[in-house]
């Protein structure tokens, strides 16, 4: 039934034939992807396979070599700066290392998108910042601190609060649990799920963490680095649900989800990349 609901609507994000090359290095090759509204998509894959680049080109931070990305029927890479920055109000991006502005306090960081676009009074801004921070489990006193004074987990939660403050339609998480202890990782997973439950957002999660993937995903996509594939092989080696990935027969997928090195070290030694 949910499936039917998805199909009836236009997808929120549509990636057509996207390729990204940096110099001589091909990172993404002919990627086609469409994400319906409300879905949580987890992008899996080993380091350097282009997960983050795919996500960044979805919001126009990386210019593709060829292909196009549509967000709600607007071609992201054709928009001018002003239209693009307006469109970006509808995105939230949680960066890998939070990317908080270290010249500002936590309060100013979380309020940044509001100040940038909204016409809110100082009092309203303060209220919204405090409520977002308490949602991610941070005390009020934190707003006067600088990012350098916080732990990694706290910074990540501040990053999440900042991404959520404009009530975005699409939230992207870049390795949300990397570098955190297991409990804090699970806190972040809970926050991802809760955010999704509270408002009907679409999410893209880039991760290596199978626990995160199993917990939050509606759909899992696995990428393979372009340089490890032959020219005609598709780069997306898996696209399906959590239960499907567990029963997937592909050796490369199994290797990844079970975390087995196999012959990988030998391959790495043999390859010159």
């Amino acid at each position: 039934m949910i499936e039917e609901l998805f199909e009836s609507e236009q997808p929120l994000v549509e990636v057509n034939d996207l390729s990204v090359r940096f110099g001589a290095q091909t990172v993404l090759r002919n990627i086609n992807l469409s994400i319906p509204r409300g879905q949580t998509v987890v992008l899996l894959g080993e380091s350097g396979c282009g997960k983050t680049v795919l996500m960044k080109s979805t919001i126009g931070l990386v210019k593709p070599t060829s292909g196009s990305v549509f967000f709600d029927d607007e071609n992201i890479h054709r928009l001018n700066d002003r239209r693009l920055s307006l469109l970006r109000l509808r995105f939230g991006f949680v960066f890998q290392n939070a990317a908080l502005f270290d010249s500002m306090t936590i309060g100013q960081n979380v309020a940044f998108p509001l100040r940038q676009h909204g016409r809110f009074s100082t009092e309203q801004i303060r209220e919204m910042v405090l409520s977002r921070l308490s949602e991610v489990g941070l005390p009020d006193s934190v707003i006067y601190k600088k990012p350098a004074e916080l732990s990694g987990g706290m910074r990540k939660r501040v990053g999440l609060a900042r991404a959520l403050i404009m009530n975005p339609e699409l939230i992207m998480y870049d390795e949300p649990t990397t570098g955190l202890d297991p409990i804090m990782s699970d806190v972040i997973n809970e926050l991802i799920i809760r955010t999704r439950r509270r408002n009907p957002v679409t999410s893209i999660v880039v991760t290596h963490d199978m626990n995160t993937a199993k917990k939050v995903a509606d759909r899992i996509i696995m990428l393979m680095p372009a340089h490890r594939l032959n020219d005609n092989e598709p780069q997306m080696i898996f696209d399906g649900t959590v239960s499907e990935i567990e029963s997937c027969r592909d050796r490369r997928v199994q290797q990844f989800i079970n975390g087995e090195a196999g012959e990988r070290l030998m391959e790495l030694r043999a390859s010159r990349v």
């Binding site: 920055s85 991006f93 890998q96 990317a99 940044f112």
Partner: protein, 318 residues
């Protein structure tokens, strides 16, 4: 000794009938095993030339690409500067950082340069009995050349490299991406205020350097070398015109623009890691300084020709 004859079968292409076609792959060079030493040597030589040429080629190409990239960057900064001014808060912070914080170091440099000029030129001038002309020489040099150039150099070292390091760190830690992701244009938010701060603060700093240099020169000449005050200033007034002061300040605006653009560009194009940030800040200073020297020479030539249009006989020390 050229011998294009394959020794093993891999250079012979066969048609389906089994008949060998010689020379079907004649674009391929003889392989090592079959080629005589002569050919091998020749080959390597050609390779060396080709390598050198492509090396030079890629240097030129990279240079042109970087120049184009820099031009686009500067163009975008101008466009953003004209479309919307940054918030007052960011402007004031940057103006303070560039102007007020550099004041002390610029003043110190100016004072010492004024005194050093007096020390260095006094002996020669006294030999020909023209020590009262020192005022003209010191003040002219300061106002026209050393004041603006040294203020700009100090600014490039103090502000330029710190800008490059700061923006470079922001690039490396994805803060610049975060700005874009939240709908703020990084050039508008980061580069424009820094550019404006350099543009408007550097003439003020130049005035400061000029003033302190003049004061330092006066102090050393009059109080230590015992040159007559009246003649010192009389000769200065005769020799240094308003146009000279204008030349210095006019040049300084270009220096400021160059420092801001070069440093911000280096910061924005910072490569990952501590090394990248370090390199960005070093090259911000080096390139800014080179730009300052270039601009100084060419503006000097251009402004001199204007000067001689107005004062055809020029200023005379005698």
């Amino acid at each position: 000794m050229l011998k294009i004859a394959p020794s093993n079968g891999d250079n012979i292409e066969t048609v389906q009938g089994g008949l060998p076609i010689w020379g079907a792959t004649n674009t391929r060079r003889p392989t090592v095993s079959s080629a005589s030493d002569n050919i091998e040597y020749y080959d390597e030589d050609l390779g060396f030339f080709a390598r050198t040429l492509t090396g030079w080629g890629s240097i030129v190409l990279d240079g042109i690409m970087a120049l184009g990239d820099f031009s686009i960057f500067a163009y975008q900064t101008f466009v953003w500067m004209l479309t919307r001014l940054p918030k007052k808060g960011t402007l004031i912070t940057n103006f303070h950082q560039v102007g007020v914080s550099s004041l002390a170091v610029v003043a110190l440099t100016g004072t010492f340069i004024g005194m050093v000029l007096a020390v260095q030129s006094y002996f020669q001038f006294r030999q020909i009995g023209l020590e009262t002309r020192l005022g003209g020489v010191i003040n002219m040099t300061l106002v026209r050349e050393l004041g603006p150039v040294l203020a700009a150099t100090m600014l490039a070292g103090r502000v330029g490299s710190s800008m490059a390091a700061e923006l470079g760190t922001m690039r490396v830690t994805e803060q610049i991406d975060a700005l874009s992701a939240m709908g703020a244009n990084p050039i508008h938010y980061l580069v424009v205020p820094r550019f404006l701060a350099c543009l408007f603060m550097i003439p003020a700093l130049t005035v400061m350097a000029d003033f302190m240099g003049v004061a330092g020169g006066h102090f050393y000449s009059v109080n230590i070398l015992d040159i007559d005050v009246h003649h010192y200033w009389h000769n200065s007034a005769k020799f240094v015109t308003n146009f000279d002061l204008f030349v210095g300040l006019f040049k300084s605006i270009f220096f400021g623009a160059a420092i801001a653009m070069v440093s911000c560009y280096q910061g924005f194009n910072c490569t990952a890691g501590a090394e990248g940030v370090g390199r960005a800040s070093t090259s911000a200073f080096v390139y800014s300084f080179v730009m300052i020297l270039f601009i100084d020479l060419f503006l000097g030539i251009a402004l001199d020709s204007i000067y001689f249009m107005y004062y055809p006989e020029g200023a005379s020390l005698l």
